[in-house]
Amino acid sequence: MSSCDPIIEVKNLYVNFYTYAGVVKAIDGVSFRICRGETYCLVGETGCGKSVTAKSLTRLIRSPGRIEKGSVIYYRDGKPVDLLKLGEEELRGIRGAEISYIFQDPSSSLDPLYTIGYQVAETMKEHGRVASIKEGIRRAVDILRTVLMPDPETRVKNYPHELSGGMKQRGVIGISLSNKPRLVIADEPTTALDATVQDQIMDLLKKLKAEEDLTVLLITHNMGLVADMCDRVAVMYAGRIVEEADVFELFANPKHPYTQALLRAVPNPMKRMDKLESIPGTVPNLIFPPSGCRFHPRCPFAMDICSRERPPDLEVAPGHRVACWLYTEHGGR
């Protein structure tokens, strides 16, 4: 993993939501890099800013949210472009064609008033891949076949409410792959599905990734999925990345107290565990986030400096960075 050919690079991203109760500082200085061909995971609890980060990549943040600053460098055929500064029309050409999304709930992602075939077809037509909707629908049959939709010839004419949850998500995956994208952002793609269907969908994603030569950004709160799917992992907490490492490194040698606690809270595939522990305290309110390190109120190793200053990003091993004071001269570890 030392030679990284980056496909996208997020630098110092800040996103705020201007809500009823106050300004939610949802993303607070996030930076990471995804290499071509890998599966990169963002993990964390609900509300930690994973989805917001994913949507920020192509500026899908809508009112009352706003991207405050930062840059998202997309390496388009080797040439870097900053997606946050790109013109609206040019960015549209990238969305759904070069960078495509799979959202959490397929039932609400699909427009209920159009057939699944139509929605696949229009996604292709809008990016100039087919000349007409009609041709698009013919092509949609093949696409639905590649995502293992049963009986694609009839399903293509079905409306979303006539499909099961798993079939709908296959349809959404079909849409996202219809334009042969470089990067697929899968935002909790199986959370809204039945457990049995979840496995099928993940297997499908794995298969497609290999066949279509994709780079995948997978967003999940499920550590099992992380272990199963990911090459590299970033752990998010309260709008910041607290630790990033190779998947084996992370499970074997977690550095950040939050990552450690998180791994103790779920079955760890790398270790034998006698019991699971929960993380004491509650998720912080991001309108008034804790000062310094946002984890310090819940951290068993909190020191003076943790509440005063934001911890620096430290590279504790090659490709393993962690934002924690413990690994500085203050912590002495």
């Binding site: 800040y14 705020n16 201007y18 809500t19 009823y20 106050g22 300004v23 500082k25 009112s63 009352p64 405050e68 600053k69 309108i287 008034f288 986030p289 000062s291």
Partner: protein, 396 residues
């Protein structure tokens, strides 16, 4: 361009109105606390919510304009009859011919006579601010009295009509089954025909009965006369007005029945209602304690909007000649009578209509703002505007 937490955190810069609403809510809390010690502690989150709603309301210019219009209307309705220069039925034509269809601003002189003394008018010169009608009655005075008429009709209608609907909706929604089916069929029938026609029909046939009723119930009669600020000898004319009230009771409920039933059906699905039922809480108690508070929001919005709606409908009925009859001062009736002289005596149409518009608009503005304030989704956008502005200031 710093995004430090402390600077953006507290967003409510309190304004005069906020302090005022704080004081009102504070007063209410004090009363509740005196009546039931410990009330505030138990209801703190609710009171905080009220406070936020009030702040949101205070930041909506339409809401504030509406509040001012309604306060003005209520004030005129309460004191109008006492500050009006003349009584609603004083025919100034007896004293000065110029008052006949006098344009706004006409000056008339009332000589010293026994007749003037009988009407309680001091001799001297008077300016007819908004002009006079075909009996030489002062339009300004009649509009002031007219506010009272509209207000009392609206209050009387709103005290009964919607509540019939709310009760029917609660029963239908909660019990469901055959009762629901029957009640909703009846509601559908009422919804299927135009309320105005039904109200006209009722208003047309009711007066003889109402008149007889008022004659035999002296207390109710004199109470209503006082409420409407009418003279004893106009009790007969008042029967028509009361008929309108009764007619509107009978047509103003189906919408509420529908609304409440729908809300009850969705509230009934809530787990806490199921839990209460599982615990054996009596049905009546569940409805009053757990379901009613949850549907109060939309009902409140409709009540506010309909207050205006009743004023408008009553004016419309009077305009069609089935509501108030002369000499009662009623905005719709003034237009009806004045229309004979339109467009020459345009003021007889223009001013009462304008008064109706302003009063109704007030209630509609408040109701619409309340809807925004009570709906968490839109409330967010209401306050979002406020924050954006502050932030721009900070950015510079």
């Amino acid at each position: 361009m710093s995004i430090a937490a402390e600077e953006l955190g507290e967003v409510y810069e309190k304004k005069v109105l906020d302090k005022l609403s704080d004081a009102v809510i504070g007063g209410f809390v004090k009363i509740a606390e005196t009546l039931r010690p410990g009330w505030y502690r138990r209801n703190k989150s609710r009171v905080d919510e009220w406070r936020l709603m009030a702040y949101a309301f205070n930041r909506s210019p339409p809401g504030i304009i509406g509040m001012l219009l309604v306060l003005g209307f209520v004030l005129v309705a309460l004191v109008g009859p006492y500050v009006a220069p003349f009584r609603y039925d004083t025919p100034l034509q007896f004293f000065d011919q110029n008052s006949y269809l006098a344009p706004p601003g006409t000056v008339i002189s009332v000589p010293n006579s026994t007749l003037a003394q009988n009407f309680g008018i001091k001799p001297g010169n008077y300016t007819l601010l908004l002009g006079g009608d075909d009996y030489g009655r002062d339009l300004w005075s009649r509009i002031l009295y007219g506010a009272r008429t509209s207000f009392v009709v609206a209050i009387l209608v709103m005290m009964v009509g919607p509540w019939i609907g709310i009760a029917i909706g609660l029963i239908a929604g909660y019990y469901g089954g055959k009762i629901d089916e029957l009640l909703m069929r009846i509601t559908d029938v009422f919804l299927a025909f135009p309320g105005l026609i039904l109200a006209i029909a009722f208003s047309a046939v009711l007066p003889p009965r109402i008149s007889a009723f008022l004659e035999s119930h002296a207390t109710i009669r004199s109470l209503l006369l006082t409420l409407f600020a009418l003279e004893e000898q106009h009790a007969g004319a008042m029967a028509y007005l009361v008929s309108v009230v009764v007619a509107l009771w009978l047509v103003w409920w189906p919408g509420y029945a529908r609304l409440v039933r729908g809300s009850v059906l969705s509230a009934r699905e809530n787990l806490y209602v199921e839990a209460a039922r599982a615990l054996g809480v009596p049905t009546r108690w569940i409805m009053i304690r757990h379901i009613l508070p949850n549907i109060l929001g939309p009902v409140l919005v409709y009540l506010t909007l309909d207050f205006g709606g009743v004023i408008l409908t009553e004016a419309g009925l009077s305009f069609l000649g089935v509501g108030a009859v002369p000499p009662i001062a009623d905005w719709g009736r003034i237009v009806y009578d004045g229309a004979n002289f339109f467009p020459n005596a345009w003021w007889l149409v223009f001013f009462p209509g304008l008064a109706t518009l302003l009063a109704v608009l007030g209630f509609n503005l408040i109701g619409d703002t309340l809807r925004d304030v009570l709906d968490p989704k839109t409330r967010r956008s209401l306050e979002f505007k406020l924050k954006k502005r502050e932030e721009v200031v900070e950015g510079e």
